[in-house]
Amino acid sequence: MIEGLAAIYIFMLAGFTGYEIISKVPVILHTPLMSGSNFVHGIVLVGAMVALGIAETTTEQVIGFFAVLLGAGNAVGGYVVTERMLEMFKPSDKKKEGEGS
């Protein structure tokens, strides 16, 4: 379990990591990156599964169901649109051959 001090360190380091990853990104990729990071926080699905998994009352189950529904939407939708966008980024044929050689 991640607690107290360690959590603060993890928050800090994760913050640096996120910042550094983005800091030198070309404008051309801003939208796919927004979409890609949107996908990444789809990990909330995992938490939603736990929330529903530990639900005991019906109220909790309803809210938990809602959480999983939304979380799955975030994860799957985020993946699909990001993948569709990134798939379109291709170098020209010339370049591709050049790189192959």
Binding site: I2, Y19, I28, I43, G47, M49, G64, A75, E83
Partner: protein, 476 residues
Amino acid sequence: METLIQAAYLIAAALFILGLKQMSSPVTARRGILWAGAGMVLATLVTFMSPQILDSDQVSTNIALIMIAIALGGGYAWYSGKKVAMTDMPQMIAMYNGMGGGAAAAIAAVELIKASNEAAHDVTGNAAVADMLGADVAILGILGAVIGTISFSGSIIAWAKLDGRLNRSRLLPKQHIINALLAIVTLGFAVAIYFTNSIETIIIFYLLALVLGVFITVPVGGADMPVIISLFNALTGLAVGFEGYVLGNAAMIIAGIVVGSAGSLLTQLMAKAMNRSVANVFFAGVGTNVVATSSSGNEGVMKEIQAMDAGILMSFASQVVIIPGYGMAVAQAQHKIWELTQILTEKGVSVKFAIHPVAGRMPGHMNVLLAEAGVPYDMIYDMEDINADFKNTTVALVIGANDVVNPSAKTDSSSPLFGMPILDAIDADNVIVIKRGRGTGFSGVENPLFFADNTKMLFGDGQKAASELIQAVKEL
């Protein structure tokens, strides 16, 4: 089992980071999303085996519910994500992002309700939510709930606005003052949750936060939406990170905070590229943009050109630089433009695309559209890389762009655009501008480029005009 799950989460978190990293270069971007996707699948699968779930009294019901919810939510998202047009991407991202925020808020709700029930039935009879969860968990959990809920309802508004389902920019008079009051009241209820054990407080809190998200987002101008979406994206990340702490789930913490930090930076980069501050986007509302409409005096003559003549000019050019803008997106003209480019290239003309960082209505908008049409990214040049090259350009073809080629950003200090870097299309030997009429751009400012000596206007819808150009060039 616990160790295995934790190891899987660790790998998932690493895959997310490596994936995002690879997404920051066009060459590896595709692989990046695949890696991140693998991380997600891994994390989801192992979660089914988590002891917390398997030890529950209602294990079979709950697991069934989980599967149904995943099938429904995932299925719908898969379908809608596959089907959406490229131009509608921003609102789709807004929606999926809102779902994430909602999920985080719902997780918080489950935890808070649980804690509040426990507190109410505590032996002392007078315990509060904070006593049950501990101060750190309670604070981060509630914070995540506020942020997640605002991101949820705000994103839905953003989606509705971008999808053209909502056009109002004001719900109430003095909206900003009401928003401020509402925010204070919401925070008050958030604090109340911490110190009490009442379910009603929790419910009212969530309702207030939902309304707050709506109220904050409605006044934002449609064109500022990308900044807002990016901000909500970062906020959802934060909320996910905080709820990850509540659940003791490191993958959520790391992925959430990484996105929160990356998203904040991205938001700032976007706002900066539009010459505005993030605060300004929120509080200026849509009203301010209208003020600037008439910096006129500039009512010179626009010289028209016909597609035939424009085609000839371009066919015999040594270099043509195409500058697309928002109008190309509206007209969906990117495919025609790529066709035109190929024909010109065959004729030996060197064709380049010049992209302004904020052309269109979202960052990288033009790049996405051009990529969709099949334009290879090495034909596409950033502003800094191409600006010096306009001097060697025979024809600069402006299609549906306006503000991003407005020279008054450099020359007229009274212009609202003043200070924004622009594409120096005006330096080209000839400028051909495709637009439907005398409409202004996003900023509402007149554009002296259209009246310049070397500029000719090719009036018409972007797609139609491009088709005519193709025709003209082909016939030569």
